[in-house]
């Protein structure tokens, strides 16, 4: 068994200069009732400003847990994590990131608009500012006509777009997305991937994106982190340097296939290690 990448290479100069997310020898053990579960083992990663980094791996590889550690929804049991140079908790208290969950997690008693203004209300913005921002991000996800609707009146794909708009409403420089399109069908997923890519290019946000779809990871990312399960760890970090103005057609190209092949190889290596 050859280890594909023990330590991620520093890569671009910008990445090394001022990392937005810096993960150093991260370990996380869940204290389950019967036996402790090693969710993450010795994870090292630095993510620079403006990167789009995907985390891919089998279920239970800890990719969601890793994202939750960055968001201060879980606490590391070893190693350090820094977000914008401070601890995840300080970053959360400073509202440094927007989090998009696997489900839209809209509050059913709030209209689309008021779901989007929820973080703004909590942050104490005045009404006029809240409504202006809601209108802006709704336009960004092409849902301006649905501001007054309630979540149950929207399709699953539209609900997920609202949840992305909500994460963008307070304009965080960092977006954490946990399989946001996992529950959607392929066609809507393709469409939303294109929209997300456009959005990322326009806003230049740093994105951490958890997925279990190889094409999605290759299409969206500047870097792909391949993880394996039990214990969750990084097996490979792949630079994806597809042209910035790519469209879905790029998935037919040779360079796309090459990156996808390397991702698949990484996943397979992690898998065979797993079976021992």
């Amino acid at each position: 068994m050859t280890k594909l990448a023990s330590v991620p290479e520093p890569g671009l100069a910008a990445r090394a200069a001022a990392p937005v997310v810096e993960i150093d020898h991260l370990n996380l053990v869940f204290n389950a009732a019967d036996a402790p579960v090693q969710a993450l083992t010795d994870v090292n990663l630095a993510i620079g400003k403006g990167e789009f980094v995907s985390f891919i791996g089998p279920s239970g590889c800890g990719k969601t847990t890793l994202l939750r550690v960055v968001a201060d929804l879980e606490r590391a049991t070893g190693g350090t994590v820094k977000v914008n140079g401070v601890s995840p908790e300080e970053a959360r208290l400073a509202r440094a990131y927007g989090y998009v969950f696997q489900a839209a997690a809209l509050y059913p008693w709030r209209s689309v608009q008021r779901n989007i203004t929820l973080p703004l209300e909590i942050m104490g913005m005045d009404r006029a500012e809240r409504e202006a921002r809601a209108a802006r991000v709704l336009d960004l996800v092409n849902l301006s006509a649905f501001a007054r609707k309630f979540p149950w009146q929207l399709s699953g794909g539209m609900q997920q777009r609202v949840s992305i708009a909500r994460a963008l409403s307070f304009d965080p420089a960092l977006l954490l997305m946990d399989e946001p399109f996992g529950a959607l069908d392929e066609i809507i997923r393709d469409h939303l991937n294109e929209e997300l890519l456009r959005l990322w290019r326009r806003t230049q946000k740093t994105v951490l994106f958890v997925t279990h779809s190889i094409p999605e990871a290759v299409f969206l990312s500047t870097r792909i982190v391949v993880m394996s399960a039990r214990p969750g760890r990084i097996v490979d970090v792949i630079d994806a340097d597809l042209p910035a103005d790519r469209t879905l057609e790029i998935r037919e190209s040779a360079e796309f296939a090459a990156i996808a092949h390397r991702v698949r190889a990484g996943l397979r290596a992690g898998h065979s290690y797993d079976e021992g």
């Binding site: 990131y97 709030r110 929820l118 209300e121 909590i122 942050m123 149950w152």
Partner: protein
Amino acid sequence: MSGSLGPVLAILGVLVVIWYAGAVALNAQRVLDGYESEETTDWTWRDLVADTLSMERPILPAPHQVLIELDKTVLDVAPTSRRSLVYHGWVTLSSALVGFVFGTLLGIVLAVGIVHVPTLERALMPWIIASQTIPILAIAPMIIVVLGSLGLVGLLPKAIISAYLCFFPVTIGMVKGLTSPDRIQLDLIRTYSASETQVFWKLRWPASVAFLFASLKVAIALAVVGAIVGELPTGAAAGLGARLLSGSYYGQTVQIWAALVVASVMAGLAVLAVDLAECATARHMGGQL
């Protein structure tokens, strides 16, 4: 709405038929005893049925007798008169409503405490449960007597008994409701680093509204029961409980049943009012309560 009218009327019809049959069956023996003591022998079945449905103090009065009594005591007298069931109904309802408001507030406060302070659940729950295992008929006279000795009479002691019954479903419902937000909804608001107060008002409270209204419907009906029970031990001069008591002293079963009908209509209207409030709230909250 019109589609459901048929079944409603059918059930009502069945109940009225059962009621009449019951009245005939239960009252027949007394009528027969009467025939015997008067040595009437030439009675027919028709006479027997007619007589069982027109007794002055029947064991079970017939529906039309109750309606006539209601006509006399609701429509024929001024609502301020002491002979009016509207007057007695209001005496009971006003204390039931005061008790309902207090009981609901107490229930919500207890639930908020239990949800936010983990030790309170273990400290309070046994007492809350115990309070409801004591028959209200046993504890009501004591409350009335104790408060009476403190100089509290009239509406307030009855309201306290109503509140005593009311708070329980509200506490149970609201503990469930305030803890109903799922993990993802809580995680979401945590990522905004919301304060505990903001989590309460923006997530826990709106999520519990559906549970609150379910509890309120139980509570309002219990409040009416509590007010009536509160009127029994002191022989209160006014209120539906007082009417029930004086009716049973004098064997005025028709009066008792009329008071019971008013009490149940009143409780029904109160539940309906809660229902309407729920509909209005649901509309405001996206119609998905």
